[in-house]
């Protein structure tokens, strides 16, 4: 009897979702890409063949060859090493800005959805104001007002993303708070915060996770764009966007300098988008089969 019961327990909601995700080959491929990216970022020091800021003036503007698999840039720095190191910044900015945005946006959304009325109006109108400003423009102006740097880059991107999460969470809270098990929780004397965090949030994780994976792609793109504009990460720290930006002037003669960082961005965004799509399908129990 025992093993049967234990096996059953592993399949809860998340177990089922994982099974469905496993069946989706595209999503598993995307997951592999993301895991490789994370692996690169974590072990960048070991994986990169050269230090990212090692300048070699005898080997500038080299196209891909044996010593430099992806070639070198105008200072003779190895592009592969810079891309590997750049993944750190991109993933860091992507993850942390999404986490900040989820926490703040989720909290605002949960509170306005749960309490409704005046609080809801106040918070959501504030979100509407934020939403009225195009996200990129908002991030650019925030990044310009704050000083360039990693933390400020994260803040600039996170603030632009908050309204999206607030709306998603509010909508799911609204649909869940009227269900009977919430009333049942009130009946056993659970406090409001307990109901929000223990009963409501876990029930609306699915849409949040989907929004987060899709949003992370956007955040990485925003980070690259801001760095491209010179408002994000400052040289010599490698970042995909800033690599593109500095290679821009050589695009006619040495196109490999822009191509490879561009491909790195593209693959990551591609992976995150496919994974987000797969998660959306996997987490929707109505598609069970």
């Amino acid at each position: 009897m025992k093993p049967l019961i234990e096996r059953k327990n592993k399949n809860g909601f998340w177990g089922d979702a994982w099974c469905r995700l496993k069946k989706n080959k595209g999503a598993m491929f995307a997951l592999a890409i993301i895991l490789i990216m994370i692996f690169c970022a974590v072990f960048a020091d070991r994986l990169a063949p050269y230090p990212y800021d090692l300048q070699d003036y005898n080997h500038t503007f080299e196209t891909p060859n044996r010593q430099h698999l992806l070639g070198t840039d105008n200072f003779g720095r190895d592009i592969l090493s810079r891309i590997i190191h750049g993944s750190r910044i991109s993933l860091l900015v992507g993850f942390s800005s999404i986490i900040v945005a989820i926490i703040l946006g989720g909290l605002l959304g949960a509170v306005s959805g749960y309490y409704g009325g005046r609080v809801d109006n106040l918070f959501m109108r504030a979100m509407d104001i934020l939403m009225a400003i195009p996200g990129m423009l908002l991030a650019i102006s925030l990044a310009a007002v704050l000083k360039p740097g990693l933390l400020n880059l994260v803040i600039a991107i996170a603030v632009a993303d908050i309204p999206g999460y607030a709306r998603v969470v509010r909508a799911s809270v609204l649909s869940i708070k009227d269900q009977e098990f919430i009333e049942a929780a009130q009946c056993v004397g659970a406090s409001d915060s307990r109901i929000i965090f223990k009963h409501i949030i876990p029930n609306c994780l699915a849409p949040i996770i989907v929004q987060a994976t899709l949003g992370m792609a956007g955040a990485i793109l925003s980070a690259s764009s801001l760095s491209f504009l010179g408002l994000g990460i400052q040289p010599p720290t490698p970042e995909w966007g800033s690599m593109l930006s500095s290679a821009r002037q050589y695009i006619m003669s040495y196109s490999h300098m822009t191509t490879f960082p561009g491909i790195a961005i593209m693959i990551t965004i591609f992976g995150l988008n496919i994974l987000g799509d797969g998660l959306r399908d996997a987490l929707d129990p109505r598609l069970k089969n």
Binding site: A184, A185, V188, S191, P202
Partner: protein, 324 residues
């Protein structure tokens, strides 16, 4: 006998933009310790609203308790602060819900849902709460190995048992069972009722059982209140209500139950529908459907009168003993 719950002149309204629905009108109830009271009535008679009122859970807006007192163990529940009320819910008064399918949180294991209520009200460590929750599971007849399973792995009857376990986990003084068996099939109904009754006897808990089913009431309850359009039209011991049915509405309810011995082709329903609770008639709310109605019934709403020892009827022309 010690009083545990007394409701005086309770009036609950739901307000929407233009309409005011009078869900509960001048409701008076008395419940002694260890007793069970059945509240019987049609859908929309205000039974659940009364129960939510006792829990202090009327959604406001749109609901509002306009008037009245709900005295539980000497304190008026309506005057308690939010925190004190929270300490009463689940600990002193707990509720068993109608639909076990939707009353359990789908993403939390059943065991944890029982343990949650214990942890909120009793100063126990996590491990002790888990032990107690397992005990409760066994008590309602579910093996404790199933502690870590999710609600979707349980059948409807088992879910209802889990809900009963949650309701009883803190040894409440009063259980409000809101149609605990409506969503279950007949055999499971009997099991669940037996379980509730057994546990209630063991712990000497008082209970209010809300139901449509007069058969269930006679098995379980000592007292019965018949509700119609937000009012209690007849109230008394189960014996008084069944042996000496006095209100025409109660009579009608009994008549519409098929008799297993008599060969009947058709049931005898009560003609008509319950009045719109947003637009109650001036006189007796049952008058439009009543066989015994008179001009007086149309003009004014009768007061409740005591016609026997603890037997109350809200009717001018109640059916006297032997007249049926």
């Amino acid at each position: 006998m010690e009083k545990i719950l007394e409701i005086k002149n309770l009036k609950i309204e739901y307000k929407s933009n233009e309409r005011t629905v009078e869900a509960v009108n001048n409701l008076n109830l008395l419940l002694n310790k260890g007793e069970s009271l059945g509240i019987v009535g049609e859908t929309g008679a205000g039974k659940t609203t009364t129960a939510l009122g006792i829990m202090g859970l009327i959604p406001d807006p749109p609901g509002k308790i306009v008037n009245g007192e709900i005295i539980f163990e000497g304190h008026d529940i309506l005057k308690l602060s939010k925190n004190k009320l929270r300490a009463v819910r689940g600990k002193k008064i707990s509720m068993i819900f109608q639909d076990p399918m939707t009353s359990l949180n789908p993403v939390i294991t059943v065991g944890d849902q029982i343990a949650e209520s214990i942890r909120i009200h009793e100063k126990l460590s996590r491990a002790d709460a888990v032990l107690k929750a397992k005990e409760m599971l066994e008590l309602v007849g579910i093996p404790e190995e199933r502690y870590a399973e999710y609600p979707h792995q349980f059948s409807g009857g088992m879910k209802q048992r889990v809900i009963i376990a949650i309701a009883l986990s803190c040894n409440p003084e009063l259980i409000l069972a809101d149609e605990p068996t409506t969503a279950l099939d007949v055999t499971i109904q009997a099991q669940v009722l037996d379980l509730i009754l057994k546990l209630k006897r063991e712990k000497n808990t008082s209970m209010i059982l809300i139901t449509h089913d007069l058969g269930v009431v006679v098995e379980i309850c000592e007292k019965v209140a018949i509700m119609y359009a937000g009012e209690i039209v007849e109230y008394g011991t189960t014996e008084q209500i069944y042996e000496n049915t006095s209100h025409p509405y109660t009579r009608g309810l009994f008549d519409s139950i098929p008799d297993i011995d008599a060969k009947e082709d058709r049931l005898i329903p009560i003609q008509g529908l319950m009045p719109d609770p947003a637009d109650l008639p001036k006189g007796c709310s049952f008058e439009p459907r009543c066989r015994y109605s008179t001009e007086k019934c149309k003009e004014s709403n009768p007061d409740t009168q005591e016609i026997g020892n603890g037997h109350f009827v809200k009717c001018y022309n109640y059916i006297k003993r032997g007249e049926q």
